[in-house]
C-alpha cells in the first residue's frame, strides 16, 4: 500500500510543478467528502492540490423550502413522515424535523420500511421523504411500484431526488471556472454508469475520474486526475471497476425513467438548477405528496446573505461570508457548508486554527 501511496504522491508533485499553480479538484460526493475527512487525506497530499467539497450530499443540498413543507406535514395527525436519518437535522426556516419533536416522524433505513408503515397504519397517510441522488432514487421508485401493485392508497412520496450531472454542468457553466477536474461519485456511477460523465469531458474538457471510498481509491483517483492534467487531456476514467460499469445499472435506469422525470428544482445555497431534480410523472400523481396535499410549489428559500455557492466552488473561504460565525454556526446552520458536519464552513468553524486546507 505504501508503494502505491508513494507513486500517487509523486504524480501529484509532478502535476503541481507542471501546472505551476493550485489544482482544484471537486469531489462531488458527500460520502467522498466524509472519507477524505475521516482518512485525513488533505493532510497527506501536496499543498497545491485543493480538494473542493461539491454539492453532493442530500443533507447539504436539500433546500429550506422542502424541509419546511415536510415539517408542516409532520404537524398533521393523519400523516406519518418516514425519513432517512440524514434528514432529521437539516434546518428549515424554524428548526428541523428533530426539533419538531413529532412522534409521527419515523426514521427508516429503506423505502421498504416506509411501505411497511403504510401497510400497518391504513388510517394514516405515510409520506416518504424521498431524497438522495441517483443511487437512492431507484429505491423510491421500487416502493412506488410496489404500492401500486398492492393498491396501497395511503403511501405517497415527496420527491426531493437530485441529479448529479446537471449540477456539475451548472457549476462549470455558471458559477465557477476554477474547477480543474471532478472526482466522480462511486455509487451514483453504479447507477448512471461511468459514461454518463462523457458530455462533461467533451463539453468542458475537465477530467472525470470515478473512484470508490477507501482511502487508496481516493488517493489514486486524485493521482489519475493529476496524470490527465499533466498530459493535457480530459477523460472519463473509472477506478471502481469492482462495481461500476460504463453503462450503469440498466434495470434501475429503466425503472426511474418509467416513473420520474427531471424538473427544475432548488438546491440549498445554489438556487434553482435546470433539470436538476426529479419529480413523479403526472400519471403517477396518486403517489405524489405534492398532489395529494395540494402543494403548488416549493417556495424559494431565504438564506439571506449565505454565500455557500461560492464557498462550494472554492471562490471564497468561509470567513469571507457575512453570516459565518454570526448567524451561521454548526448549531444554527444556514447554508449547506455548515449543515453538513464535514462541510467546508463547519470544518473551518471547528478547526479554524488547524485548517487542513
Amino acid at each position: 500500500m505504501l508503494e502505491r501511496i508513494r507513486k500517487a504522491h509523486a504524480l501529484m508533485d509532478v502535476a503541481c510543478e507542471a501546472m505551476g499553480r493550485e489544482i482544484n479538484i471537486m469531489e462531488v460526493c458527500g460520502t467522498h467528502t466524509v472519507s477524505i475527512f475521516r482518512n485525513g487525506i488533505r493532510s497527506t497530499i501536496p499543498e497545491n492540490v485543493k480538494l473542493l467539497s461539491g454539492p453532493g450530499c442530500p443533507v447539504c443540498v436539500t433546500d429550506q423550502g422542502y424541509i419546511d413543507i415536510v415539517i408542516d406535514l409532520a404537524q398533521r395527525d393523519d400523516c406519518i413522515i418516514a425519513t432517512y436519518g440524514d434528514m432529521m437535522r437539516v434546518p428549515g426556516k424554524n428548526g428541523s424535523l428533530e426539533t419538531s419533536h413529532r412522534e409521527n416522524v419515523k426514521v427508516v433505513m429503506s423505502s421498504e420500511d416506509a411501505l411497511e408503515f403504510a401497510r400497518k397504519n391504513p388510517d394514516k397517510t405515510v409520506v416518504f421523504v424521498a431524497v438522495g441522488f441517483e443511487t437512492t432514487t431507484p429505491a423510491t421508485v421500487v416502493a412506488v411500484e410496489q404500492a401500486k401493485k398492492e393498491g396501497l392508497k395511503n403511501f405517497v412520496i415527496f420527491s426531493g431526488h437530485k441529479l448529479v450531472v446537471p449540477a456539475m454542468e451548472a457549476l462549470l457553466s455558471g458559477m465557477n471556472n476554477k474547477i480543474d477536474a471532478f472526482l466522480c461519485p462511486g455509487h451514483v456511477s453504479i447507477m448512471i454508469g461511468s459514461q454518463a460523465y462523457r458530455p462533461i469531458v467533451e463539453k468542458f474538457k475537465k477530467p472525470c475520474v470515478v473512484a470508490g471510498f477507501e482511502p487508496m481509491q481516493l488517493i489514486e483517483g486524485i493521482a489519475e486526475i493529476c496524470r490527465q492534467l499533466i498530459e493535457c487531456r480530459a477523460d472519463v476514467t473509472c477506478l471502481y471497476d469492482a462495481v461500476v460499469k460504463p453503462e450503469g445499472n440498466l434495470t434501475a435506469q429503466k425503472l426511474v425513467a418509467k416513473y420520474m422525470e427531471p424538473t427544475d428544482g432548488y438546491w440549498r445555497g445554489l438556487g434553482k438548477i435546470a433539470a436538476g431534480t426529479l419529480a413523479l410523472k403526472a400519471e403517477y400523481a396518486e403517489f405524489d405528496a405534492m398532489k395529494r396535499f395540494g402543494i403548488e410549489e416549493i417556495p424559494a428559500e431565504e438564506l439571506g446573505g449565505c454565500r455557500c455557492g461560492e464557498i462550494l466552488c472554492g471562490l471564497i473561504s468561509p470567513p469571507e461570508c457575512g453570516l459565518f460565525d454570526k448567524k451561521c454556526t454548526p448549531d444554527t446552520p444556514v447554508g449547506p457548508c455548515m449543515v453538513s458536519s464535514e462541510g467546508a464552513c463547519s470544518a473551518w468553524y471547528k478547526y479554524g486554527r488547524r485548517q487542513r486546507r
Binding site: V107, M109, G132
Partner: protein
Amino acid sequence: MSDTNGKKILLAHGGGGRVSNDLLSKIVIPKFQDKTDKLTDAAELNLESNNVCFTTDSFVVKPIFFNGGDIGKLAVCGTVNDLAVAGARPAALSLSLIIEEGLEIETLDKILTSVSTAAKQAGVSIVTGDTKVVDAGSADNIFINTAGIGTKHENANLSFDNIKAGDKVIINGTVGDHGMTIMSQREGIKFKSTLKSDCATLNGLVEKVLDATDQVKFMRDPTRGGIAATLNEIATATGLDIELIEKDIPVDTTVKAAAEMLGFDPINIANEGKVVFVVANEVAEEVLKIIKSDELGKNAAIIGEVKPPQGDPVVEIVTAIGGKRIVQMPYGRELPRIC
C-alpha cells in the same frame, strides 16, 4: 418460578401492602439473601477505610434484553465501573426499581437474577433497595437506579492534573460493541447479527492494574459517546492534545461492518465493559501486559499518546494512510444514515 408464570406486575405490587410484601419476599429478597434479609430502611456498612467513593446511575436501556446482557446486568456493571474507574473497590450497591404496570413477573425475575449474578461476579453486595410501580405508559417496562459505595485503592492517585505530555492511552479491548448491539435491536434499525455487548464489571481488572502500579494517571469508562467523548473530555480538562493511532484502536470486524452500513464511527459508540487508562509512559508496556492477562483485557492495546497542545486542545487521529483528522465530541444521538 411456576407460581409467577404468566403473571404480571400490578400497581398493588408497589403499594406497600400484602401484595408488595409477597413480591419482595418471593422474587426480590431471595436473590440478595446475604445482606438484605433484615429489610431495614437503611443499610449499615463497615467500610475498610474513610476514603470513600460514592456514585449513582440510572438505567433506561431499550431493549431491556440484548445479546450479552440485560438492564439488570447493566445496572450493576455501570455503577461498579464508575466506582472502579474512580480507583475505588466497590463495597455495596443500592438497587431501586421503577416498574411499569403489566411487566411479566417472570421478566422481572430474570432481570433480578442478572443483577444478582453480576453483583456476585463483581464481589459486591446489594444492601438496600426500593420498588415502585407506575401506571402503564408512565415508564418503559422497567427503569433501574443503582448507587454504589466503595473505598479508594491505596495506589489510586487519579486526576486530570496528573496527566502529562508523553503519557500513554490504553484501552482494554474492542470499541463500540455495546452501542452497536443495542442499535441492532432497536426499532426501525433491527437486523440479525452476531454482535454482542461487552457489558462487564471491570473492578477486578482495574484492581490488578492498581495493585501493580501507582502510575495510572486517570481512568474513565467510555460509555455514551464512546472513546471519542471520553478522550475529548480528557483533552479539554487537561488542556493537552491526544493523538490516537487509528490502526491500533481495536474494533471487532462485525462492529466495523455494521457501523459502516449505518454511517457510524465505532469511536463514537458506547461501551459498557471498557476502561480508558492514561498511564505514565514508563509503565505503559507493563500495564498493557497486566491488562492483557485478564479475560476482559485480551484485546487491549496502547492506542495513543498525550501530546503538548498547539493551541486549543484537540483529539487527533493518525489514519491508516498517515493522514490526520480531528476527533470531535460526538453530537449525542447517532442516527442511521444513507449518505
